[in-house]
């Protein structure tokens, strides 16, 4: 066990997969000698060489397209978007080529597209976005977002070993803020499996990414009010772990859906539909969504602070729900 940041955990996961499988390689902008804008790939060029840590021109569509080409030939490319906001530039290759390949002619595309997403660092509208819903909506893609260092390492390994295109969203707010003891050496956290991050019996908060910590913080403070909160960390956003979600509904009967992405047609809407379709009779209160409002992410600190869902909002909703 060693104390490791969320960022370092991703780096370790990449490193070990590169050691394990010679078909794994990295490609992206400024990832080589510079080590990436956030230094996730620091030192990897020196160790693995230019054939496996490939700097590219600023051409997201070509990065993903070339990744797809290498993947169908049996390689396992891991592509970095310098910021996940720029994944929009490669949308066509991702949703039309990669996502639909296996359905059309049975050809697998073992590809990972990873990079920093999310707000809280005053990045403004173009360095703070949460693009998960576009991709979770696209059949053929898997979408992952770890919240802990343990999961970050285990999930990046699972994503690399998966035979499908995986969008791997790293939360930049967590990169250096989260430090945990994690096991050294190989372990995998399977895709499609959520986690009960905290057991509770009065109500459940279903969340992922940096909002896990907002949920846990609220849960802790609600202890003083005798409200016992369960927290589910989804980890994989597509495909969703319905068993884990529905078990928690059956246990606590009251649900808050919390995410940093905007509200309309966000993950919360899908989760609410699943719950009302499959566990309606277990519900003892309304399904409450807490999300960012439907607007771009603002830059100025007071605007961004109000924009991002906060502990106070979660506690208010929990009190309201607990009263049912």
């Amino acid at each position: 066990m060693a104390t490791t940041t969320y960022l370092e955990a991703i780096r370790q996961g990449l490193w070990e997969e590169m050691e394990r499988d010679p078909d794994v390689f990295l490609m992206g902008e400024d990832i080589g000698s510079y080590g990436g804008a956030f230094k996730v790939t620091a030192g990897m060029l020196e160790h693995f060489g230019e054939k496996r840590v490939i700097d590219t021109p600023i051409s997201e569509e070509a990065i993903v397209g070339a990744g797809i080409g290498a993947a169908v030939m049996g390689m396992r490319p891991v592509l970095e978007m310098q910021f996940m906001d720029f994944i929009a530039c490669a949308f066509n290759q991702i949703v039309n080529y990669a996502a639909k390949m296996h359905f059309r002619w049975g050809q697998a595309v073992p590809l990972v597209i990873r990079g920093p997403s999310g707000g809280g660092v005053h990045g403004g509208p173009y360095h703070s976005q949460n693009p998960e819903a576009y991709f979770a909506h696209t059949p053929g893609l898997k979408v992952v977002q770890p919240a802990t260092a343990y999961d970050a390492k285990g999930l990046i390994k699972a994503a690399i070993r998966d035979n499908n295109p995986v969008i791997f969203l790293e939360h930049k707010f967590l990169y250096r803020r989260i430090k945990e003891e994690i096991p050294e050496g190989d372990y995998v956290v399977p895709l499609g499996v959520a986690r009960v991050a905290r057991e509770g019996k009065h109500l459940s908060i279903i969340t992922y990414g940096a909002m896990l910590y907002v949920a846990l913080d609220a849960a802790k403070q609600l202890e003083h009010e005798e409200i016992d909160v369960e927290v589910i960390d989804l980890r994989t956003l597509s495909p969703l772990d319905e068993d884990c979600i529905l078990n928690s509904v059956k246990k606590t009967n009251k649900i808050i859906l919390l995410h940093e992405d905007t509200r309309t047609l966000g993950l919360g809407a899908e989760l609410a539909s699943i719950i009302s379709e499959k566990a309606f009779e277990y519900l003892d209160g309304p399904l409450i969504r807490i999300t960012a409002p439907d607007s771009p992410v603002p830059y100025s600190p007071p605007l961004e602070e109000a924009y991002l869902p906060g502990v106070g909002q979660v506690m208010d909703a929990a009190r309201r729900l607990a009263a049912y």
Partner: protein, 313 residues
């Protein structure tokens, strides 16, 4: 023009100080050494033209009538900044001043500026659109689609490539095989040329001619300005990957000092006149920094609700 060159540099310096004091909320992207391009190209336009600055084209926004206080407020995320604290750095515009706002996604502005040029052609106006892109940014597909679109429609679009040799940590030679970016003009069948981007007069004269051609209906132009990024990608970046001898070499080619020498040698400006300009800038910037520092931060929308203005009325 000398006033704006100096102003550009001084605003940059003040922003650097504010950044080091922790008062700039986000990243700061310096234009040191590239001021001549922003200022001289903006000077080559007429009032009705539209200019699309990228994040290092601070000087171009000053020429178009934005004030230093707008930039200070914008970088410090104050409510009185041109985006009211909603967006950062040079991400703002005002079409009354003929300024179109950029987005972070490199290249995306080129087709949009082609569209501004298209509207001019469709309505029979004599408006020219001018925009900028870095060497790295030219590797995005939008650059090529936008340029080709403007070419086949003979649109009045002038694209200034600031070839400052580096895109973040990546040297231009790792971005492309043929590093003479103006050669793309030939590929798209439009006018193209490569010039010394640190020679203010050459930039002005070349742009002025390209703008005039475009205005007469002779189609787009691609002007590659060779220059150098004298600081890191942004202030957080110490740019250790840039060889110091390159910085030394380019420091000697500083566009403002060269233009100063020209003005002195030709008796266009005296030392006393220069001092007057510098004093005026110091006074203005003292006032504008103070204004920005005392400007309030924006007021958020009530918890859980969107700020107004996501949609137009």
């Amino acid at each position: 023009m000398y006033y704006f060159l100096r102003l550009n540099r001084s605003v940059d310096e003040r922003l650097g100080n504010l950044y080091r004091q922790g008062k700039v909320v986000g990243g700061l992207y310096s234009s040191l050494g590239q001021e001549g391009i922003s200022v001289a190209t903006a000077y080559a336009l007429e009032k009705q033209d539209v200019l699309g600055p990228m994040i290092r084209n601070l000087g171009a926004t000053l020429v178009r009538g934005f004030k230093p206080r707008d930039l200070f407020c914008q970088y410090m995320a104050r409510s009185s900044g041109p985006s009211g604290g909603r967006d950062c750095n040079l991400h703002f515009g005002d079409l009354n001043r003929g300024v179109m706002a950029c987005i972070s996604m490199l290249g995306a502005l080129i087709p949009v500026m082609a569209g501004i040029a298209l509207s001019s052609t469709l309505r029979g106006e004599d408006r020219v659109a001018l925009t900028y892109i870095g060497d790295g940014g030219t590797r995005v597909g939008d650059f090529h689609e936008g340029l080709n679109f403007a070419a086949v429609k003979d649109l009045p679009l002038v694209v200034i490539v600031e070839n400052n040799q580096f895109a973040y940590s990546t040297p231009v030679t790792s971005q492309m095989k043929n590093t003479r970016i103006s050669d793309f003009a030939q590929a798209y069948g439009i006018f193209g040329t490569t010039i010394d981007g640190n020679d203010v007069l050459e930039v002005y004269n070349t742009t002025r001619a390209a703008v005039a051609r475009a205005r007469q209906g002779a189609g787009p132009a691609l002007i590659e300005c060779n220059t150098f990024r004298m600081r890191g990608h942004a202030e957080h970046d110490d740019a250790k990957y840039v060889p110091p001898e390159l910085l030394e070499f380019w420091k000697k080619k500083d566009p403002i000092l060269r233009f100063e020498r020209y003005l002195f040698n030709n008796g266009i400006m005296t030392q006393a006149e220069q001092q007057t300009i510098i004093d005026r800038i110091t006074r203005e910037l003292d006032a504008d920094v103070a204004f920005a520092e005392s400007s309030p931060l924006p007021v958020p929308a009530p918890c859980g609700t969107a700020l107004p203005g996501v949609y137009a009325d």
